[in-house]
């Protein structure tokens, strides 16, 4: 069991772990690219125009940023995404939010919202997910403290903001 006080892994890091470890490393070392891509402005636009009546973007401990919270019978943690292309990454990111909150005595369920697809997915945090997340956190911490992983070119690289950074020297 990891004490919650020394885990400083963010939701974005969990997400990037499933997308690309080079991206995870660069992001974790604050090597960020300028935000001029259309993809980024699209994501920002969806955030600003969806669920306008709800209080949005709740940042907890500077570690996780919840898109919005709803209270029905229990607490629902909502995360808004554009498409299901990175579904696995989205799921673990949200499960990590649930895990993080549980460490602080809040039990909640997660909802992934895809407003453009008019779809939702409900997530519950189980024991096996918790164990998986603890392993994940360790792996991320180890990765970030070692050398930058060499980039490997995959089809999804072309849309990544680090594409020119990774492959512009070839």
């Amino acid at each position: 069991m990891i004490s919650h006080t020394d885990v400083k892994v963010t939701g974005t890091q969990i997400n990037y772990y499933f997308i690309c470890t080079t991206k995870l490393w660069l992001f974790s070392h604050h090597i960020q690219m300028e935000k001029e891509s259309d993809e980024v402005s699209m994501g920002k636009h969806i955030h600003e125009t969806s669920y306008e009546r709800t209080k949005k973007n709740i940042i907890i401990d500077d570690v996780i940023a919840v898109d919005f919270i709803k209270k029905h019978d229990g607490i629902e943690i909502h995360d808004v995404k554009k498409s299901r292309k990175m579904e696995v990454a989205h799921r673990w990111q949200l499960l990590y939010y649930l895990y993080y909150l549980k460490q602080r005595g809040v039990s909640a369920i997660g909802v992934l919202d895809y407003p453009l697809l008019k779809k939702k997915e409900i997530l519950h945090l189980g024991d096996s997910e918790e164990r998986e997340l603890e392993k994940l956190i360790q792996e991320i911490l180890a990765l970030v403290s070692s050398q930058m992983p060499s980039p490997m070119k995959r089809p999804l690289c072309k849309k990544c903001s680090y594409y020119e950074f990774c492959f512009g020297g070839e």
Partner: protein, 329 residues
């Protein structure tokens, strides 16, 4: 697509609502904020504090040049891409003499190889260039044996001397360089070189702003030489690719006449029309694109500068050794 704006006239820069205007006696021109990448100011420019904060907020630098076309300073917006890790690693590469000289040599090597590309292009028609090419290659061959910055700098100096002597073989009498004289330039080509190199310096600086690199930590040049000396290092690679080729075109195509220069000999200045011609060609060259094999897409010459900086970031982070850009096209 964002673009560079070059202002050669005197006037006022003002913000009205969310638009930037350039105003002078005859016109009022709107510069849409989403389209401005950087502003290069050659005239006397006054501006309001409103426009300054607005440009800074949008990450737009303004570079100022004096009437000689010399770089005077930049209004450099607050850094937004900051990485403590990258800065420390960059400083490490400066502090460690061996690591510093590796990078310093690579800048000289890249510059020299691009110079040779330029000369080889002309040597097809002019045999007299061959001996200069050999001399430059010989100098370049010495480089691996050197370790100190003054030694490396002297190789760079010799290569430039040979280069300019070689160019005198192809330039018409009116544009002979003779000796490279900078402050102030004493003949037409020296004027063009100073003007272009100052411009290059500012262009590289705009790109550095968009990376995590710290512009004051340099390797070939001394950090105390000028405030943003990393810009001088990286500009070495691009001067032959961009500035020199603009000058070749202006001279070889006979695009400049007496009205493009002003002042007496020994006090050569580009007139407003001369500056306009230079800036137009320079801009055209920065926007020109080539197919980049590694990326599998077209990139502009200006973007190549950014890619060069990314290569430097990777070098200091220890993931990929820096290899300077040598024109492959």
């Amino acid at each position: 697509m964002k673009t560079n704006y070059y202002i050669t006239k005197d006037g006022v820069l003002r913000r009205k609502e969310n638009t930037v205007y350039f105003i002078d006696k005859t016109e009022q021109r709107a510069l849409p904020i989403q389209k401005i990448y950087a502003i290069y100011a050659y005239g006397n420019l006054s501006f309001t504090s409103g426009v300054v904060s607005y440009l800074a907020k949008n990450g737009v630098p303004i570079h100022f040049f004096n009437s000689y076309g010399f770089y005077e300073g930049s209004l450099y917006p607050r850094e937004t891409l900051v990485s403590g890790d990258a800065t420390i690693k960059q400083a490490e590469h400066y502090l460690d003499g061996e690591r510093r000289s590796i990078l310093a040599k690579l800048f000289v090597e890249g510059a020299a190889k691009n110079i040779l590309r330029n000369l080889n292009y002309y040597s097809k028609d002019t045999n007299s260039l061959t001996s200069y090419i050999e001399k430059i290659e010989h100098e370049l061959g010495q480089l691996p044996g050197y370790t100190t910055i003054p030694q490396i700098m002297s190789v760079e100096g010799h290569i430039r001397d040979f280069y300019y002597s070689a160019l005198d073989c192809i330039f018409p009498a009116e544009f002979q360089i003779g000796e490279r004289v900078k402050r102030p330039p004493n003949n037409k080509t020296n004027t063009l070189l100073s003007f272009g190199n100052s411009l290059m310096y500012a262009t590289v600086l705009s790109e550095i702003y968009n990376t995590q690199l710290n512009p004051t930590i340099s390797f070939l040049h001394e950090p105390f030489e000028r405030r943003f000396s990393l810009s001088l290092d990286v500009a070495e690679i691009f001067k032959p690719i961009i500035v020199d080729r603009v000058i070749f075109k202006l001279i070889n195509k006979n695009m400049l006449d007496e009205t493009d220069f002003s002042g007496d000999i020994g006090n050569m200045l580009l007139s407003e029309s001369g500056r306009k011609k230079f800036l137009q060609e320079y801009h055209e060259r920065l926007s020109r694109t080539i197919e980049h094999k590694g990326l599998g897409r077209e990139v502009s010459y200006q973007r190549l500068i950014r890619l060069e900086l990314y290569k430097l970031v990777k070098h200091v982070l220890g993931t990929q050794k820096y290899k300077p850009l040598v024109m492959w096209w």
